[in-house]
């Protein structure tokens, strides 16, 4: 318990430091908004298809709601740390962090947390405007739903963070982690509901996808926010997501511990 209280003391300062950094680099975050274009391309095609009747229960406003929520959720839960963490290991810069009393993972986590506080407001206004402009209710804004939405975003963020921390940990042994990370992004985006709503996969496949870890990154928060899940359904899916997070976090921790044991910095 002593360790936890120590972290509680350290985190406010850590967050403040990374917050200032995030504000200084806010233009970089604005650029990251541009990768929202591909889901919007998919949205346009689905909307075109929905002109002559709903597609698997999705009407045109449903698609608009789904993809706008997906773009928003991607900003809340999406993480991009593999490149930096991998460079730290490869270049030997990691040694600097190893001298410090705080585990390096907290530096990355604080950076990730503050980053989204900077970027989300940039997107909130356009999404809210679009939602108001489209006829028909797309978002379920009741307090209970919003609570579940917040919880699902937390789980999604932790999943994304630890999955990438795990991938970055591979850098202790192999050089090509960037390629693996890029491949992972492809798979996650496609199977996690960012590119296509899970409900539009063939029934057998979409059933399976709700049991995979990727669902918590985008699909679960979006489905909750758009009111597509009952309370029971969302609790089951939240539990699945939380289970995977625990498993992946444990794996990442073990991998980093093993990696650090064999680590000798470049250039000594």
């Amino acid at each position: 318990m002593h360790k936890l209280t120590r972290l509680l003391v350290i985190y406010p300062a850590l967050l403040r430091a990374y917050w200032e950094r995030a504000v200084a680099y806010r233009a970089v975050f604005a650029v990251s908004l541009l990768n929202a274009i591909f889901p919007l391309v998919m949205m346009a095609i689905w909307i075109g298809m929905a002109q002559d009747g709903p597609v698997a229960g999705f009407s045109a406003p449903d698609f608009a709601g789904y993809y706008l929520a997906a773009v928003l959720v991607r900003r809340l839960t999406g993480v991009g740390i593999v490149q930096d963490a991998e460079r730290l290991v490869r270049s030997g810069e990691l040694s600097v962090y190893l001298f410090r009393p705080l585990d390096v993972v907290h530096h990355f986590f604080a950076r990730v947390l503050t980053g989204r506080v900077v970027v989300t407001p940039m997107l909130l206004a356009p999404v809210a405007l679009a939602i108001l402009a489209i006829p028909g209710p797309q978002f379920d804004l009741r307090p209970a739903t919003l609570m579940r939405f917040a919880l699902s975003c937390g789980i999604g963020l932790l999943f994304e963070f630890y999955a990438q921390w795990l991938l970055a940990g591979l850098a202790f042994w192999i050089v090509q982690t960037q390629g693996i990370a890029a491949a992972y992004q492809f798979v996650k985006a496609f199977l996690g509901g960012y590119i296509v709503p899970l409900a539009l996969f063939p029934p057998a496949v979409s059933g399976l996808l709700t049991w995979l870890p990727f669902q918590s990154s985008v699909a679960l928060p979006v489905e909750i926010l758009t009111g597509r899940l009952s309370a029971e359904q969302s609790f089951l899916r939240l539990a699945i997501g939380a289970g995977w997070v625990a498993l992946i976090a444990l794996g990442a921790r073990l991998l980093w511990r093993a990696g650090l044991r064999g680590y000798s910095a470049v250039g000594g």
């Binding site: 233009a27 604005a30 650029v31 541009l34 990768n35 274009i37 591909f38 391309v41 998919m42 346009a44 095609i45 689905w46 909307i47 075109g48 298809m49 002109q51 597609v55 698997a56 090509q176 390629g179 890029a182 491949a183 492809f186 798979v187 985006a189 496609f190 590119i195 296509v196 539009l200 996969f201 063939p202």
Partner: protein, 269 residues
């Protein structure tokens, strides 16, 4: 005053030299080839997977059957492979050269600065997308049990070439932009993002978007129009419109480069 054939021969010779140098550099990093091929295949899986999902709900999309749409996807991969292999690495180099002032060394060379700055470096491994694109088109034609006649192949090659010229002109203009604005990485991201629209037939999009990408921003010419030419569903008017777009864009890009270069002041001066 040199004669035109002489000039052309000189530039072709230079192009060969650039290609030779790029191949030598690329061969130093052979593992990259396997990595790039894997990424292209994953990307293809993504694009085809998306198309499969669309078609699992509808038999046709904007009048395109699944194999027909695969021709569009294939053409998209050819275009994006061209972009990644030829245009993007040079764009990066020019941004860096303008920022550091190394552009001086390009400008004092006795050749067209636009030619040098936009065609200097190739990344051979990115051509894997080209292979994937051709394979997709081949597969689609086999599914359609269709072997287009000679005139369709000519139209396809002509409009495919026009698509690449159009992309080249757009990228050249984008590159020239960095003489005015130093940090154009954002704009580059935007262009790559917008190009994603070319993954699917233009007719699959609902109306305002369809009109814009067919007539105003020429994204439809990148993939949809060459595919239509191959499948024999293109009107001659649209073909001419596509060729005109490519020619106009190329001309404009040359003019923009002239203006850009005349505006350049070295980083140190």
């Amino acid at each position: 005053m040199r004669t035109i054939p002489h000039t052309i021969a000189r530039y072709v010779g230079l192009l060969k030299l650039f290609a030779h140098n790029s191949v030598l550099t690329n061969l130093e990093y052979r593992v990259n080839f396997a990595g790039a091929l894997l990424m292209s295949l994953l990307d293809a899986l993504w694009a085809v997977g998306g198309a499969v999902l669309f078609y699992s709900h509808r038999a046709t999309l904007g009048g395109w059957t699944f194999p027909e749409a695969l021709v569009v996807v294939g053409m998209f991969f050819i275009a994006s492979g061209f972009l990644d292999a030829f245009l993007q690495p040079n764009l990066r180099d020019v941004i860096e050269a303008v920022r550091t002032g190394a552009m001086d060394y390009v400008l004092i060379k006795p050749i067209s600065p636009m030619f040098h700055a936009t065609l200097r470096r190739f990344r051979l491994e990115k051509l894997s997308s080209l292979g994937v694109g051709l394979a997709l088109i081949g597969y689609a034609l086999a599914q359609l049990r269709l072997w287009p006649g000679t005139e369709r192949w000519i139209a396809f090659l002509g409009l495919g070439l026009a698509a690449l010229i159009l992309l080249y002109a757009l990228m050249a203009m984008l590159t020239a932009l960095c003489f005015w604005v130093v940090d154009i990485a954002n704009i580059e991201e935007l262009v790559f993002g917008v190009l994603d629209v070319a993954r699917f037939p233009a007719q699959a999009f609902p109306e305002p978007v369809r009109g814009i990408i067919s007539l105003v921003i020429p994204i439809a010419f990148v993939s949809t129009v060459p595919a239509e030419a191959l499948l024999g569903r293109l009107t001659p008017a649209m073909a001419l419109y596509g060729l005109a777009w490519a020619g106009a864009a190329l001309l404009l890009s040359v003019l923009v480069w002239r203006a850009a270069v005349s505006r350049y002041t070295s980083a140190s001066s």
